[in-house]
């Protein structure tokens, strides 16, 4: 079975999830909690968009590093990456809402901040105007999202063509070049995206590490998502080619990138906490004073679970353990996304309730629907690839 069938049962489940999301959204809007609903749309929108982006990044890395082990998983990565246009759309809705002042996620979009005669005048934000102004911000957003989408489609298209055409060594070289170009572009633009869409929520605040931190977060989420889908597929009798060693390697990535995320989180937190400079420390003061328990909980979940449970080799090969840890840290990183936006927009009024969870489930439903639908469109394992033989025989102790 190398052709995936998207069963009606799954379809119904995902549509049900989407319905939950729609209900949560409507409830949020009609109960007069517009700000909360918009914030929630950004939290889950960014989270699932990030997963798709990370999948493209990982395809790029695998090509550039000439890695063989991941070749049998390539189609799953591609499936996840194909959520990109939908994720882009979800982000654009929030961006348009912000631009037309339907929501107030981006405080700096308020025009009165730049008017010296206004009582709202903010000298610091006004100083950022050459960068944080709507036209330039939109140009950057369209450029970034456009190019990322373009690469997603190129990788996918080439992969499908290679299956038909063969000529593996030609595509191997061409993909290497494409991956290198993408990785360089991505390496620079992920910082810009992080500053524009996330850091600017807390407009006064700044941190040079921020882009790296965001990047590591989406990376973990992306790998965990691909791993969970792989386990699901295997459980249903697909992906026979994927053996314990492949799963083990994925487990290693979850383990390693969780450490990377924690390292970057800690570096940012510790340096700001230690120096205690007012301009910077406010960011963490809000998060610790108003959200103390959940904030620390998020950090601990994302570090402790993968560290303890995925330390041993056997655990990294155990589908049950991986699913358990995977689901928990996926939620942990959704929480991370929650803390990227909520304190900046909602100040001390943020909660995790029906709206947030409901919308997350709705976005999850949409995400899985799109990904599963994409999985049906091509064989689950690539037919032709220069390193396919190596990947099929991948074996590690």
């Amino acid at each position: 079975m190398d052709q995936f069938t998207f069963t009606d049962k799954s379809k119904k489940l995902f549509i049900g999830l989407i319905a939950v999301g729609v209900i949560a959204t409507l409830y949020g809007i009609f109960s007069g909690q517009g700000a909360r609903t918009w914030t929630s749309a950004m939290i889950s929108g960014w989270f699932f968009f990030g997963i798709a982006l990370a999948a493209v990044f990982f395809i790029g890395v695998n090509n550039a590093a000439q890695a063989a082990w991941g070749v049998v998983l390539k189609r799953v990565f591609e499936g996840v990456s194909m959520f990109m246009p939908y994720g882009t759309l979800l982000l654009l809705i929030v961006f348009l809402g912000a631009t037309f002042h339907w929501n107030h996620i981006y405080h700096w979009m308020d025009k009165s901040l730049y008017d010296p005669s206004s009582s709202h005048y903010d000298a610091i934000i006004a100083g950022k105007e050459p960068y944080l102004n709507l036209p330039f911000w939109w140009i950057r957003a369209i450029l970034l999202l456009g190019v990322w989408n373009l690469f997603t489609f190129l990788f996918r298209k080439r992969s499908l063509v290679e299956d038909q055409e063969g000529k593996t060594s030609k595509w191997f070289k061409k993909n290497l070049t494409l991956a290198a170009i993408f990785l360089v572009f991505f390496g620079y633009t992920i910082h810009i995206g992080s500053w524009d869409w996330i850091m600017s929520v807390d407009t006064h605040w700044f941190s040079t590490l921020f882009g790296w931190y965001i990047f590591s977060g989406i990376w973990v989420s992306g790998i965990v998502m691909v791993l969970l889908i792989t386990i699901f597929l295997k459980k249903n009798g697909y992906l026979k080619e994927v053996n314990d060693s492949h799963i083990h390697d994925m487990g290693k990535w979850v383990f390693a990138i969780s450490f990377l995320w924690t390292y970057l989180w800690f570096s940012q937190f510790m340096l700001i906490w230690y120096s205690d400079i007012p301009e910077e420390v406010t960011y963490f003061l809000v998060r610790l004073e108003d959200y103390g328990l959940t904030f620390w909980g998020m950090v601990l979940i994302n570090f402790i679970f993968p560290m303890i449970l995925l330390m041993s080799k056997d655990m990294k090969r155990n589908a049950g353990v991986l699913t358990f840890v995977g689901v928990i840290i996926l939620f942990g990183h959704w929480m991370d996304s929650y803390f990227l936006f909520t304190p900046g927009v909602m100040k001390d009024q943020g909660v995790i309730g029906l709206v947030e969870i409901g919308m997350m489930l709705g976005y999850l439903g949409l995400f899985l629907f799109v990904v599963f639908n994409q999985l049906t469109k091509a064989p689950l394992v690539v037919k032709k690839h220069a390193l396919l033989e190596e990947s099929l025989h991948h074996h590690i102790n």
Partner: protein
Amino acid sequence: MVKEAEVREPLILGKDVTYHKITEEVCAPVEGRANKLWWFIFTMSLLLGLWGLGSITYTIGRGIGVWGLNTTVGWAWDITNFVWWVGIGHAGTLISAVLLLFRQKWRMAINRAAEAMTIFAVMMAALFPGIHMGRIWMSYWVLPIPNQFGSLWVNFNSPLLWDVFAISTYFSVSLVFWYIGLIPDFATIRDRATGPIAKKIYSILSFGWTGNAKAWIRFEEVSLVLAGLATPLVFSVHSIVSMDFATSVIPGWHTTIFPPYFVAGAIFSGFAMVQTLLLIARKVLNFERYITIQHIELMNVVIVVTGSMVGTAYLSELFISWYSGVEYESYAFLNRATGPYAWSYWMMMTCNVITPQFFWFRKLRRSLTVSFILSIFVNIGMWFERFVIIVTSLHRDYIPSNWSWFHPTWVDIGVFIGTIGLFFTLFLLFTRFFPVLALNELKSILKGSGESYRDGNKPEKENEELAA
């Protein structure tokens, strides 16, 4: 064993390479005599090293006043050298640990020399904070010793103290990792040694290694465990070095990007130094078939990737200093790029960001001359990076009446040149007494990735050797 994909280049060149030939060729420098060129470079390095030792003695005798630093620029030349050397010391562990975890077979040809380089570089680095203490005979005070010794306990809140722990841990783990890898190779040299003294010494060094299957299983397990331990250390050491600066409230020093950016920079400079050393070593020691053009290319790829990470970090810092709207922050960076030390900033930018971009071209990546020249550029650029961070951030204090200059004295220069001399002295000794390539590990990839066996080939001489 699965056949390697055709798109992969062989890692050991030569159609006639057998296990025996690897042993012969790798042991040749240890068993043969040094040529005139070796003696010449060795003497020069030793003389430089002695000059450095003289400068250090002079510093200890007269005090830190003989250096160029002053009350405003309280850290300068010495800490620049310290960070530079620690950074160089990063590549060894990255190659031995991280590349092991990534199953990169090409590491087998370069790990031994890179690890040796790491050990020597960290030794050079540790020298600088030591002599900067002034009263070096009090240097044991950095250790947490009981109060009965007459002083208060060390300040655990200080990143300088974290550094003591970070570097000593890193040094010990790197040393153990290096030594464990050497044991089987020492045993090979022991078995081949003809002189009784050499036999005795290598026999002690090899810890009675027999080479049976059980020993090899343990060897591989230990390597994996050490790789697991050493990988976090690759991150921690330079992160903590960066915290020496970043925990402060000095504009230009306090920025959150420092930990990962220092780590990337360290790998960048470390690989450049490995490149410099190995380009010479492969020629002088006839290791061209083991350290192939592909090895050189892959190292250049690591250089261009880490160099680009450093480049993004420079740009992020520059941008955020403006974006922050903090006057002091913006000034610190403006002063770097246009102030009195602008030449050092542009030196850094040129050598670290601009010239490595040549490595995007395959032709240049595979050129020995270009690789050598650019690796020297990176070495220079990374020294200037630390100089820029340390000196330009300090020399213009918050109060203009404190503004000052830094000029190195002959002692400063002498100590630095001296460490380069000592480093090369140690490395040259290493090439004569230690197996420069991990010969037993190389043998493990010969059948899978060596030109002589790949694609179902067999070296012509194999049967004759088996018969004999």
